[in-house]
């Protein structure tokens, strides 16, 4: 019985932890830690430890399913693929390419996403988007505007070099756990950690200073911090002069945000605002870590701009230990964005509405230029709306679960039900797949190979360890088969050859050639334009990625959240993740060791609110918003302020409550703020 | 006055002066010793190494911390290397002293010695014979020159043997040769210690310790013995003479000059110059009744032994002498001189005069002394002292009354003479049991031990047990002050020893000289062993250093043990950090060189160890 250790990259979050799968007789029999990996150094969070539980899971999809009379029947690949080919062609010819929608996946590899968007675009549709829209679209929009490049500027281990770590709207202790070691190492050296979050999360446990701001008031706080830094002379005048434009306008603008006013808006004592500003601005190297607490707002783009302004104003960017660090969620959300699985971008963030870009890709893909659309496509939420309105007639979903992950879930269900064709390609029969006309069984991460890009722009190769179950197939194969049936002649679509094409069409990936990437333990950082280039761990060291090399300081004003508590919905609902589960939960809710630790949806509420609504701990309650209602178990805790309730979004239900109001620039919904009410559930409502 | 001040010494004169020092806030070695408390345990245990600049390295003696230095040196290596460097320094001190004596003999033979003469021609001839230098028809000068050259050659010599090592019994020499520790040249062995203890050379503690013994033998049977023998040639072989000891020898109405240090080359001339009529007249002129020279430390022993010049005290009394306020000049040469004397003498009118180009002291008046102009320089120094007399402040003069009579000067030759020219009476007394054995009690003072307490009590205990004590150095001066060097002290001895002493009219404690003169003890032991046809290690003899402090004492201890003599130390050498080295020195050595060290701070218990040892040796000899 020979065992082999196959290196792999964790399929969960964007940290990109590596480990080994112990393979015996073609089966994954165990997990071993990779202690020499530069980021996780062997460590894994709870989910990573349970990752193998989904490989041999009994609920895995093992053959294509076709729905007939509201029931699925197994089908052969030929039948399913032919059906999809025919239906897509028919809709395309009948209604036009704009009737086709494509949801790519941040869980899939770079090669898969590249092929997927290539399929959409070659069919003439730019309606290709994915869940990045729901997490870091504001980062993509705002940082591209401000810094010229929308990604985390420094590697995660750089945190250990910081003297001050300002965390805004990130609960990395639960969601990106391996950061903990790097933050602790900084703390061991004496760094100050400041955590800004309406909830006292485990991340806040290690904070030297914890700022429980009111949900949705981030811009006010950030402006206030800049105000203090500016008035106390803590800004980096030299950096501002050499590396930025727009200082004067920003400085004038900031005068409107003295700590006293910011205190009123945020509910934070002025002294905390001043202390935070001083600690961040005067540190010899400070990092600003943010996540969806910043982005998932109708003001998400403004929040991100304010973060960038603060970092620029204090010169805390472009050095070791000084970085702007948006933590990406999914294991390949960065890569899916890089690969152009975004409505407005071709691979490498090249705009779809630029004719020369269109021509380049038409040439590269061997299609006529006028096949490719010049108008930016619809984003995730917009596609759902378009489906509801009948403008999108067919939706091809690869590894996403919009029924759970998109806001206002009841409307999503309704919209999907109106489609002429819903194709879902996944590893489990998700809530979305259940609504599909055709379900295609995909290979899980360890059953295929390909590259993924971590939150820190680290591109890593993941090797195939085992064969997919039953007739499940790698996504590249499936996409290639569909493309063939739609008349596209792509030739071989194996991951290495797709990566080779990416090398040619995506400049920042130019040097990440397959042989090099497969051999590079710990991967390589993009931009990496040539095979000789060492990669770029830290961005913006000499110049920013803007045309003139300078960063833009852009003033932003505080706007209150779109939905504020009112009489009928007196509480503020905010959502997020917990340590045990991952996003829509299609994997973690099927992982026995995880789901037994957190089997049901909970709602956290403050004892004051619990008393007011007569809720006791562990009791089932109904949470409702203007959009819908759901049941959850009450968890009474003072880690949320009175007036705020928190729900994780891993279970069906939560996103029935959230609002689909969007940030106008980034089109991200405001998951983090909704007005709600709670009531003890009536017996008959209990689940 | 604080009781603890009195506890510093058992010497009443010292106690008086300590009281004065306390009253006048004058700092002494005891005060500084207190300020050093607690002393570094790593140093005490010998587990601190500064031999290279990767360090300093220390080993945690309790095993919790580091067990090795940066280079990997263990406690065994550190302790052995440290001990060897102490031996090197001690052997170097004695031998460099000897080199100067040989050089003086050479200058004298060449007629360049400014005032020196050959006082013991018979000894010169005996030495010349030993060196194989022809005597027939040659002048004293010619012979002296050859002897001087032969002696000087032994320092830089690369191949052995060192001549006087062959005075040892053949079995002893055989042992040394078998162990590979028969010394080859005096300087060579010292240099080799420095080499071997350099970082990364010899790291086998046994190999290191063996070489330490070799270097120490080059001292005891080389450097020290050459110094003793040639000093006898130049200044006369000591013969019994009576004198006085302790601070009471200073005179209130005379110019008091103290000679302090270790070499007789200077002090001989000072003694002569002090009798120069011109200077005596000058003394009278300045209002003094005369010029009084007294000694401290071994230079004091040298002039005491040869001229009966009184001794003002031992090592720890050097500061107390100045505090009497009655010392016009403290004249020093080399070794055991406190640099503190400069500051202290500046509190008085006392001139602190350094003389050796090798030993300068900040704050001292330096009047450099060279053999070629010895007498003239000595006169100038004495003149300085005399001229200083009027500056004495009589109100600050506190000369204790205490002084004791003593009979000193028991060179081997003198002892033989006292025995009627043969060792037989002594051997007879030993065989009969009247004298149980012989103990050489030597060494320094050390403020870790109550001043003279270790010396006096051990010696008294030994003679009470019928063990004849031979003494040198600071122990000899302690015994002198305590009256143990008087023939009448025989009363304190056991009946057997008392009888022998009374029959011969000698004290039970025989003063054999300065610390280089421990070589006389070696010669005596060798002679006894040869007479009895046994090895030195078979003899009922022992060594002791109850209050030792200097590196010279480490070298002495090493050569005494390497010569086969059981030795008891009264203060703990810095070796306990290595149980292996400790074990080797206190037990293992017995099987190698036939003798070992013991450490026992309590003089009574230490004396018991010696008595037991001697009893055992007697039993082994069947006597």
């Amino acid at each position: 019985m020979s065992q082999s250790l196959i290196p792999t990259i964790c399929p969960y979050c964007g940290v990109g932890c590596a480990f080994y799968i112990v393979v015996e007789n073609g089966r994954a029999v165990g997990l071993e830690y990779m202690t020499d990996h530069p980021v996780n150094q062997g460590s894994l969070c709870s989910k990573g430890n349970a990752a193998l539980e989904i490989l041999d899971h009994p609920e895995r999809l093992t053959h294509p399913l076709i729905k007939a009379a509201d029931r699925f029947r197994p089908a052969s690949w030929e039948e399913a693929l032919d059906l999809i080919g025919q239906r897509l062609s028919a809709i395309r010819h009948a209604v036009g390419p704009d009737a086709l929608g494509f949801l790519a996946s941040a869980k899939c590899t770079n090669e898969e996403n590249y092929l997927f968007q290539k399929l959409a675009r070659c069919l003439g549709s730019n309606h290709v988007d994915h869940c990045a829209r729901l997490c870091h679209a504001p980062t993509v929009v705002a940082l591209a505007h401000s810094l010229g490049s929308a990604a985390m500027t420094n590697p995660i281990p750089d945190l250990a070099e910081s003297d001050c770590i300002l965390v805004i709207g990130s609960n990395w202790a639960e969601n990106h756990s391996p950061l903990a070691r790097w933050v602790w190492r900084a703390k061991d050296r004496g760094a100050r950690v400041i955590v800004v979050d309406p909830r006292l999360t485990p991340t806040a446990w290690l904070a030297d200073l914890y700022l429980p701001l009111r949900p949705g008031t981030d811009v006010a706080l950030l402006n206030g911090l800049m105000h203090v830094a500016l008035t106390e002379g803590l800004v980096d005048r030299d950096f501002i002069a050499r590396r930025t434009t727009g200082f004067d306008a920003l400085a004038r603008h900031l005068m409107a945000y003295p700590p006293s006013r910011v205190s009123e808006i945020t509910g934070l004592p002025p002294a905390q605002i001043v202390a935070t500003a001083r600690a961040y601005a005067s540190a010899s190297a400070a990092s600003l870590v943010y996540c969806m607490g910043v982005t998932q707002h109708t003001t998400g783009s403004e929040n991100v701009l304010a973060c960038a302004d603060l970092a620029l104003l204090c010169g805390q960017i472009g050095r070791r230990g000084a970085g702007l660090m948006p933590l990406r969620g999914q294991n390949n959300v960065q890569g899916a964005c890089d690969m152009g699985a975004l409505a407005q971008f071709y691979p490498g963030y090249q705009p779809v509405d630029a004719p020369e870009v269109r021509d380049f890709f038409a040439h590269a893909w061997g299609v006529a230029a006028d096949t490719l659309s010049l108008s930016p496509g619809l984003t995730v939420v917009e596609m759902i709306e378009a489906a509801a309105a009948g403008r999108i007639r067919a939706l091809y979903v690869m590894g996403e679960n919009p029924v759970l992950s998109d806001p206002n879930a009841d409307r999503v269900r309704e919209a999907l039900s109106r489609l002429d064709l819903l194709v879902v390609q996944d590893i489990f029969l998700t809530e979305t797949a259940e609504m599909a006309d055709v379900v295609l069984p995909a290979a899980a991460w360890a059953e295929k190979e390909g590259s993924t890009t971590t939150t820190e722009r680290r591109v890593q190769w993941s090797h195939q360890a085992v064969e997919p179950p039953g007739q499940a197939r790698p996504d590249t194969w499936i996409i290639g088969q569909i493309a063939r049936r739609l008349g596209l002649t792509w030739g071989e679509v194996a991951p290495p050859s797709v990566l080779a094409e990416i090398n040619r069409t995506v400049p920042i990936y130019g040097g990440l050639v397959p042989e090099r990437l497969m051999a590079a333990r710990g991967g390589l950082f993009w931009p990496c334009p040539t095979p000789e280039h060492p990669g770029t761990p830290i961005l913006h060291m000499e110049r920013f990625a803007t045309a003139d090399g300078r960063a833009r300081l852009i003033p932003v004003d505080f706007r209150p959240p779109a939905e504020e508590p009112e009489e009928r919905f007196p509480l503020t609902l905010t959502t997020g993740r917990i340590a045990i589960h991952y996003n829509a939960g299609s994997m973690t809710r099927r992982s026995p060791s995880l789901v037994t630790r957190a089997p049901t949806l909970c709602v956290e509420l403050n004892p004051v609110d619990a008393a007011q609504w007569g809720v006791s701990d562990g009791e089932w309650v109904t949470v409702s918003t203007p959009r819908g209602q759901t049941q959850a178990r009450a968890r009474i805790t003072d880690t949320v302020e009175a007036g705020v309730v928190f729900m994780p979004f891993h279970f069906p239900g939560t996103n029935r409550l959230t609002t689909d109001l969007l940030d106008p620039q980034a089109k991200i919904p405001e998951y983090k703020v909704a007005a709600c009410q709670i009531a003890v559930a009536r017996k008959e409502d209990e689940q | 006055m604080k009781e603890e001040i009195l506890q510093r010494s058992i010497d009443p004169a010292a106690q008086v002066m300590l009281a004065v020092a306390e009253k006048e806030h004058l700092e002494t070695a005891w005060d500084r010793f207190e300020k050093q408390q607690p002393q570094c345990g790593f140093g005490e245990l010998g587990v601190c190494c500064r031999h290279c600049n990767m360090g300093p390295c220390r080993i945690d003696p309790f095993g919790e911390g580091p067990a090795r230095g940066v280079c990997g040196a263990t406690a065994d290596i550190m302790v052995a290397r440290g001990l060897l460097r102490m031996i090197a320094a001690g052997a170097a001190a004695h031998s460099d002293h000897a080199r100067d004596v040989a050089h003086t003999l050479k200058l004298t033979a060449e007629g360049k010695g400014g005032g020196y003469a050959i006082k013991d021609e018979a000894k010169l001839r005996r030495l010349a014979e030993e060196y194989g230098i022809p005597l027939d028809g040659r002048s004293t000068q010619e012979i002296a020159l050859d002897v001087a050259h032969a002696a000087l050659a032994e320092f830089g010599q690369q191949e052995g043997p060192i001549r006087f090592t062959r005075r040892a019994p053949a079995r002893r020499v055989d042992t040394w040769q078998k162990l590979g520790i028969d010394p080859r040249g005096i300087d060579r062995e010292i240099v080799e210690i420095m080499h071997r203890t350099h970082m990364g050379v010899d790291n086998d503690y046994v190999n290191l310790i063996l070489h330490g013994l070799r270097a120490s033998l080059a001292d005891g049977w080389g450097g020290s013995m050459i110094a003793t023998e040639l000093q006898d040639v130049l200044f006369g072989t000591p013969q019994p003479v009576r004198s006085e000891a302790n601070l009471g020898v200073l005179k209130a109405d005379q110019v008091n000059i103290i000679v302090h240090g270790h070499e007789p080359i200077l002090s001989e001339m000072i003694v002569a110059a002090a009798q120069d009529p011109e200077l005596v007249a000058l003394a009278k002129e300045v209002g003094a009744q005369g010029i009084n020279v007294a000694g401290i430390c071994c230079t004091g022993n040298e002039v005491l032994m040869r001229h009966g010049i009184p001794v003002a005290g031992n090592f720890l009394q050097q500061e107390l002498a100045i505090i009497t306020g009655a010392v016009e000049a403290m004249i020093v040469d080399v070794q055991c001189i406190f640099p503190a004397l400069a500051d202290l003498s500046s509190c008085f009118h006392t001139k602190f005069i350094s003389t050796s180009p090798k030993a300068k002291f900040p704050g001292a008046t330096h009047m450099e002394f060279h053999e070629e102009t010895a007498y003239d320089t000595a006169k100038a120094i004495v003149r300085t002292a005399v001229e200083n007399y009027p500056r004495r402040n009589p109100a600050r003069v506190h000369i204790p009354d205490e002084k004791s009579e003593c009979m000193v000067g028991f060179s081997v030759e003198a002892i033989l003479a006292a025995l009627g020219g043969s060792l037989d009476p002594l051997l007879g007394a030993i065989k009969s049991g009247a004298i149980q054995g012989i103990a050489g009690v030597v060494g320094c003072n050390n403020p870790k031990v109550q001043h003279d307490y270790g010396h006096i009590n051990m010696v008294k205990e030994l003679i009470r047990n019928n063990i004849l004590v031979v003494t040198t150095g600071c122990n000899a001066q302690a015994c002198a002050k305590a009256g143990l060097l008087r023939p009448e002290a025989a009363e304190l001895a056991g009946d057997g020893l008392k009888g022998v002493c009374q029959a011969l009219g000698v004290p039970p404690v025989l003063h054999m000289g300065s610390c280089v003169d421990i070589s006389r003890i070696l010669v005596a032991c060798a002679a006894i062993a040869n007479t009895m046809g046994v090895d030195i290690s078979d003899l009922p003899v022992a060594g002791a250093a109850p209050e030792w402090m200097s590196e010279k004492a480490v070298s002495i201890g090493a050569y005494v043990v390497a010569s086969g003599i059981f030795t008891v130390l009264g203060t703990v050498p810095p070796v306990l950090g290595s149980s292996n080295v400790t074990q080797l020195l206190t037990a293992g050595a017995e099987g190698v060189v036939g003798a070992r060290f013991a450490v026992e701070p309590d003089p009574f218990k230490a004396a018991r160890l010696i008595v037991d040892h001697i009893t055992a040796k007697r039993a082994a000899l069947g006597i």
Binding site: - | C40, G41, E44, P61, F62, G63, E64, G65, L576, S579
Partner: protein
């Protein structure tokens, strides 16, 4: 109540306090004799160095001490009057909880067993052995008020000096 204060700028890293501590906690209370004892006497304070700074770390006898709080067997206890935290080896089961919560890492172990050993402030001495042993007087054993007063005097002197300099300018 007297406390052991550390003057942070004074430690030269000689480890004398450590040796003195081990010796004080030996049966013989003498360095030379202690070496041969079994169990080997253990020190209870630790000279550590970070960058160029050397510092003796010893039990601060914290009020509401974490080590006492976590001890499940009552081996670790704080005297109600003196506030000294002491450890009873008879009750110690060697679970190391105290070690893991001590903010200073100064709960040691007896080598032969997994039993904690810690500073007991030298109950047999007027002044703790480490304080006596320190050649640079980096360790001081005094009343808190006295130490503070001492610090105040230094601070006052600095203020006066600074004022003088300001006047000179």
């Amino acid at each position: 109540m007297k406390e052991i204060f550390v003057r942070l700028d004074r430690c030269v890293g000689c480890h004398s306090c450590e040796l003195a501590c081990a010796v004080e906690h030996s049966a013989a209370k003498s360095l030379f004799a202690a070496l041969a004892e079994a169990p080997v006497p253990r020190k209870r304070l630790y000279v550590e160095q970070v960058l160029t700074h050397k510092l003796p770390l010893l039990c601060r006898h914290c009020e509401d001490a974490p080590c006492v709080r976590v001890c499940r067997t009552g081996a670790m206890s704080q005297d109600a009057v003196s506030r000294i935290v002491t450890h009873d080896p008879e009750r110690c089961i060697g679970c190391w909880m105290c070690t893991m919560v001590c903010p200073y890492g100064v709960i040691g172990r007896q080598l032969e067993r997994r039993i904690a050993v810690k500073c007991d402030r030298c109950p047999d001495r007027e002044e703790p052995a480490c304080v006596t042993a320190c050649p640079t007087r980096a360790l001081l054993y005094m009343e808190e008020e006295d130490f503070s007063e001492r610090m105040r005097r230094v601070a006052a002197a600095e203020v006066v000096e600074g004022y003088g300099r300001a006047q000179a300018v």
